[in-house]
Structure formats: C-alpha cells, structure tokens
Amino acid sequence: MAEAHRNEWAYVLAATVRVTRDIDAAEECVQDAFARALTDWTANGIPIKPGAWLTTVARRLALDQQRRHATHARLLPLLVADVDDGPVDARSDDAGDDRLRLIFTCCHPALDLESQIALTLHFVCGLTTAEVAKAFLIKESAMAARLTRAKKKIAVSHIPYHVPSADELPDRIEAVLDVVHLVFTTGHTAPSGSSLVRDDLTSRALQLARMLRELLTSDPGVAGLLALILLSDARRTSRTSETGALVLLEDQDRSKWDHESILEGIGLVRESLTHRPPTRFSLMAAIAAVHAEAPSFSETDWGEIVSIYDLLLLTWPSPVVALNRAVAIGFAEGPLAGLSALDELSSDPFLAHYTYYESARADFFYRLGHCERAVASYELALLLTDNAVERSFLQQRLDDISSESAVKGAS
C-alpha cells in the first residue's frame, strides 16, 4: 500500500483534479480511494493495475460528490483547465500530461518558492500537511495556513491547470527543476537540525526527478538534475560515520558508494551534455561525475573540475559556484593558489556569512601549516552554521589542531 501511495498518488490525484477542477476536493476523493483500497485489496488481493483501480474509484467518488454538492455555493472558483473530462477508467494516453499539469500548477512562478515546494510535496508526492510541516521544520498549523493561502491564490487568480505553451515551457521547466533541486539540497544538507542528511527529502527529490524524466524525456535540464541527484545521493551512506558525524569527501569509503546509481548518473550526464549550451544542472552533475569516477581523492581530476566550474560560472554566476571553483583550484594547484582564489571573493556579501567559505580558508591555512590562522577561520565558520553535525565537525577540527600543536609544543 505504501508503494502504491508513493507510485500512484500523483497520477491518481492529477486525473481526479480533471473531474473536480478543485485540488482540495480531488485530494479528499483520492484519500478516500486509498482508504477503500486498504480494505478491498486486503480482501480481494492487489489489482493488476493499482493506479487504474485507484483512479476509477477516486473519479467515481468525485462525480458522486459533484452530484451531491451541485446546489452548494462555492467558496473558491474552479480551476481553469483546458480539458475537463476524460476517460473515467484506465490509464489514458495523456495521463502523463495530467501529472505535468499538476506539477506546473504547483510550481507556478506566481506562487512564492516555499509555497511551490510545499504544494509539490503535498499534492505531487502525497505528503500529509504534518509531513510537509516536518520537512520545513515548522508547526503543522503554520503549514496548513501556508497551503491554504497558496491554494486560494491558485483559485482566485486563475492559475491554470495546464502544461505551459511552447514559448513559456523552458522557463517553466526551469522553475520546476529549481523546486526539485531545493527539495534535494534541503535534504542533502539540512540547514538546521540534528542530522546531516534528511533521507525523507532526498528520496522525495529523487522520486520527483524520476517522474519528470519520465514525463519530459528529452529535456537536458531534467536529465542533468536527475543525474546530479543520483550522483550526489550515491555517496549518502559514506557522508556520515556510524555515529552520525560528517565525513569529508577526502575521507569517505568509496567502496560504500552506490555504484549502480553512479553508472545511471554518468549515463545521464553524457546524454545531457550533448545539448548545447549545457544546462546548469548538467554541469553540476558533470562535476559530481568526475568525483564519482575517481578511484581515490588524490586521483581526482581537479583540473577537469576547475574547467567545468569555469563553464558553470558562465551559465550560472553565483557566489557558491565561485567558492567551489576556488576550492577546486586549491586542490588542482595547491593550497596557496586556493587561498588566493578565495581572497578574490572576500568582498562578496553572501560569502562573508557563509560557513563553507571560512571552513575552506581554514582548511587551506591548515594544509599550509598556518595553524593559528586555521583556528581563527574554523572559529568563525562555527559561528555561521546551525546544523549540529556541521558544528561538531568544525569543533572536532579545532580540537585536532589544538592537540597537534600541543604535541608539537611538547616535543
């Protein structure tokens, strides 16, 4: 049942919205259909096509509900859809389009980004309001209010339930990719909280990226994002120790990496890089692929990584990309070159408060043997993060340096 929920939710909901033209009403019917499946499937066994079974039931419930409520005054206007009725049973040919409609509605740029993410997790992934609230680390009542506000905006401003026209499509796909990427990065390194990785979010991001790949097969940005998620997530189990402490790329046990995901990711990178110009996510995935292909940290092709960052800066100039490029230069040409590349970025207002900037400086100082300066930078970095795992990592580095200096002092 959990598997059916994960695999079929978006498909069933999207098909039901076409009947109700009201996301809330559709959601109620879909929940009801899943509840009925629980008893029916236990008694009669799982149907051959669970999605079709669920869709038939949900849409029948929706039609019943419409008949009953036909005379009721509506609080909110109906969704504007370009198709309002389709075959009531079985997966129709444009079932894919149905899910795309749902995704594009949830990720509409007229909604604020956090609402886009919340709507996507709620309606496309089928997370409950409580689960979405947990993902954002906010109270359920606050998340319920946010979802209500977003749904009201969709209704009153008539955000359409359709796949955007060809000329809008590239921008709109980009917006969807941003949402999925943010779900992934939030899970990959949780900005606060007690664990470094939030598996619930990374696996939802992977699920969304796979769904997009299925629906927008030829889009290079989609292939790039799926590759990036696969390649980054392949390192998941080696990024933290058994006690939950952060393990740097340099110290990770590469045999623990998920090689099946890496192979799939590399294939997608190759495919997405055949498009010109390469998309932002394709280039980010290409960097992850270079790491994934290196047999060890010392054998990493840092020169290749620097040149990919150069390309990435052209398509997507951002302080974080510039920072990562500077770090790569440090590994390609030595810590002194890395420090001077970092110094060139010192006036950036974002990086001034970014913990990774200071910890990168600290690491290069340490590699050069400037322990005092390394300590100062690590201490500054410590002030700039609220993630418990990152904090304990930085504290550990500080402790290591001070015990090393004590040993040196004693000898």
Binding site: S157, I159, P160
Partner: protein
C-alpha cells in the same frame, strides 16, 4: 474568462523622464500594446504624477483627514492601469509582459467577480 487589473508602476524621479524622447517612446509602446491586445482590453488610463494626488485617511472614530500626496510613498508609484479580460493567469501575464514600464514594472491583480 476572468478580469485582471494591470497596475503600472514607474519611478517618477528617474532621470530618463526628463528626455522628451522617453515619453514619446513609452507612448508609442502603449499604442502598439493597444493594437496587439485590443480584443482583451476593457479599459485603461494613464495617471498624473503622484504630486497631483490627494489622500484621505479614515481613523477609528470615523474622522477623515485629507492630505497632499500619494497614499503610500514608494520609489515606484502607480502611473496607470489597464483592465483586461483573459482566460487564466498565464494568458493575463503574457499580455502584461507587453505593457511598457521602462522605469518599473507591472502588478497583475485578479478582479473579484461581482
């Protein structure tokens, strides 16, 4: 079909307005906009600068105070509007993209049906 109000905001203090060519270019832009989207247009006007505005404020006792100037002082001020009809927000935004607003931008608001 739904109605939307497109509110045009502009920076009245922008130095480009002192050049008569700017005004002429914007005016031509509005003419072109009217020709292209005439079928969707339900109304629209340009407004005089905010230094011509008069604001009325109601206090809790019901007293009304009259003051000189815009209701809210902002860098970009309301300079005009269009009332349009469109099937959905995407269609409305596609129309709004063509509204000339060189020193600011536009806001699209759905009209509450009566």
């Amino acid at each position: 079909m739904s109605e939307y109000l497109i509110l045009i905001y502009q920076d009245e203090s922008d130095p480009s307005w002192s050049d008569p060519a700017t005004g002429e270019k914007v005016m031509k832009g509005h003419m072109a906009f009217g020709e292209k989207h005439g079928a969707s247009l339900r109304g629209g006007n340009a407004l005089h600068y905010t230094n011509s505005a008069t604001s009325l404020r109601h206090d809790k006792s019901g007293k009304v105070t009259v003051t000189d100037g815009a209701f809210v002082e902002t860098k970009e001020a309301l300079g005009g509007y269009y009332l349009i009809e469109a099937p959905d927000l995407d269609a409305a935004l596609a129309i709004a993209k063509d509204v000339p607003a060189p020193t600011g931008g536009v806001e699209v608001r759905p009209i509450m049906p009566t």
